[in-house]
């Protein structure tokens, strides 16, 4: 009798306990889902607003002409688009070779003390505030030459770019099976031939992914360009004059107190986001199903993530 009562008591206690735990579980689930929604809303809002406001500003004229007089709402962002292409192209010319060779060093010769410290500092350098790199470029190029220079801007962007490429190249090369290298060696090929012709050929997809993502990353950089290429409203003249770039133009336009300038700012933002998102989404859509490149993206997520 007594036993039965106790059992019932335990059962009700158990039920209460389970009920409470299940409710807590439900509440946590709701909180987690609202976290996800809270992160998606800004993304959706940014993309929607840029598209909605930007599309009204876009025209052939807007894309090709120099900016009109301040506040007039005429003209376009032609020099900015041209400038972004030039400075990103130049930065890639400097950053890609250094990054790739640095990645080769880390993967093929990096199994020693020097390699480990390079890897570590590479990862730390990746997180340097980009504005500090801009100041560095200002100090060693602009201050020495005595004028703003496209080289300085490209150099600053290359500094942001090369550690990313080094890291992704290293990981792609490491994923090439050691047997490929051994097969090359067994044919009597030199190490550099093996690396450049066999290993890189096998790893090129991951490397290209890393390079393109780093291009997308530097395309949106503003801070290091402020003190290196300054911004201008004319088309590119030569390497030793100030030049415009899309992020700089957006910044300028957003600071102006005119509605027309703001509208042009949105238009420039749409062009910029179109380029950057195009690279990002395109690459991911192309490589999403491939295992090796997924691995690269994973490493990028861990180490790169975003801009500063």
């Amino acid at each position: 009798m007594n036993n039965l009562k106790k059992r019932q008591e335990y059962r009700s206690l158990f039920k209460q306990n389970v009920k409470k735990r299940l409710i807590i579980d439900k509440i946590v689930r709701i909180i987690i889902i609202s976290c996800v929604i809270a992160a998606i809303i800004p993304l959706g809002s940014i993309l929607a607003e840029v598209f909605k406001n930007g599309i009204t500003a876009i025209s052939i004229e807007f894309l090709t002409q120099t900016p009109g007089s301040v506040g007039s709402g005429t003209g376009g962002v032609g020099p900015a688009i041209q400038g972004t292409l030039i400075v990103v192209g130049l930065a890639s010319l400097m950053g890609v070779p250094i990054g790739v060779f640095s990645g080769i060093f880390l993967s093929e010769f990096g199994d020693n003390r020097l390699g480990r410290s390079v890897r570590f500092f590479n990862d730390v350098f990746m997180e340097f505030p980009s504005i500090v790199l801009g100041i560095f470029a200002f100090l060693v190029i602009v201050l020495v030459l005595g004028h703003f220079s496209v080289w300085a801007g490209a150099f600053a962007l290359a500094l942001i770019m090369f550690p990313i490429i080094a890291r992704t190249t290293e990981e792609s090369l490491k994923m090439v099976p050691i047997t490929y290298r051994e097969a090359g060696m067994a044919l009597g090929l030199r190490k550099w031939v093996v690396t450049m012709r066999i290993v890189i050929a096998a790893a090129k997809e991951g490397m290209i992914t890393g390079i393109m993502l780093s291009v997308a990353r530097i395309g949106g950089e503003t801070a290091p360009l402020i003190m290196t290429i300054l911004g201008s409203s004319l088309f590119f003249a030569n390497m030793n004059t100030p030049m415009d770039a899309l992020p700089l133009r957006i910044w300028r336009l957003s600071m102006l107190p005119y509605d027309s300038a703001q509208l042009q700012g949105w238009g420039a933002a749409l062009v910029l986001i179109f380029i950057i998102m195009g690279i990002n989404i395109g690459l991911r859509a192309l490589v999403l199903h491939k295992k090796e490149t997924m691995q690269i993206l994973k490493i990028l997520k861990e180490t790169v993530g975003g801009r500063k």
């Binding site: 809270a38 992160a39 800004p42 060779f101 340097f128 949106g220 801070a223």
Partner: protein
Amino acid sequence: MEKILSKQNDRRFDSDKIFKMGATLAGCFVLIVIVLLVFQLITQSYPIWEEEGLSFIVGTDWNAADGRESFGALPYIVGTLVTSTLAMIIGVPLSIGIAMFISDAPKKIGVPLGFLIELLAAVPSIIYGLWGMYVFRGFFLDMIEKPLHNTFGDSIWLFSGTPFGLDIFTASIILAVMIIPTVSSVAREVMKAVPQQQKEAAYMLGATKWEMFKLAIFPYSKTGLIGASILGLGRAVGETMAVTMLIGNATGINAIPESLFDPSQTMSSIIANEFIEASPAGLHLPALIGVALVLLCIAIVINVIAHLLVTRMLKVKEGSINT
């Protein structure tokens, strides 16, 4: 025959040596740049250390006018720390929630969702700034800041300032959104590193999903999660453009915020705002470079700590237990 072989060997030796040297040089480039960078920052900011000494770090006045030059970086250091800390308080729980959702969701939902979250990282900082200034600010001012100020303005000092929209609160929220992709993707990797057996063991004890996270995943991945958050802090500290556009750009003593609705200034935003106007002849430029040096030191310390924590966590082999 022997001669030909040895000749060939010699050549092989040479070209490989050059290749290795080239690669090593490229690898060492990063070390050279870091050394040069720190050296340049120190030498170029030397005048300000000589002039102001320690009061450059603890001083609060900021005057670039000729003859009355006086520079103290404390307000901007405070501004940076306050905004980044606020961003962490808002952003880290959100990111960990997202990481929990994605690590637990079926692949069909998890992969596209993870992709969407990463797109947040692809949006350039300047566009966050533009959006924050023209879209988010109006909404936030009317829907959140004003009601908060009207209800709690008198009783809680945090909400006492007059809301204007360009203040540390707005800037911190945008920063929080910007660190979400970093923190949540690292947190996800860290949670994935928890061995399946641990999760199964928790389920076997009758744990609900939340209890499984509490029992199995959080204790195991604690170090990594802390590392992920600190990595986010590093991002927030170095962030420039969006903050510059939203923080209200106060200078000097005014930049020390007294409430959430006060305008302020961070180290990176004062550089972005004033660098071009600073003349290399006076003390203004060395002062800004000094600010950059302080910023770099803080960023390096934060990132080295985060890096060590995260790699330690991700290196843990399956099956070993790390509490």
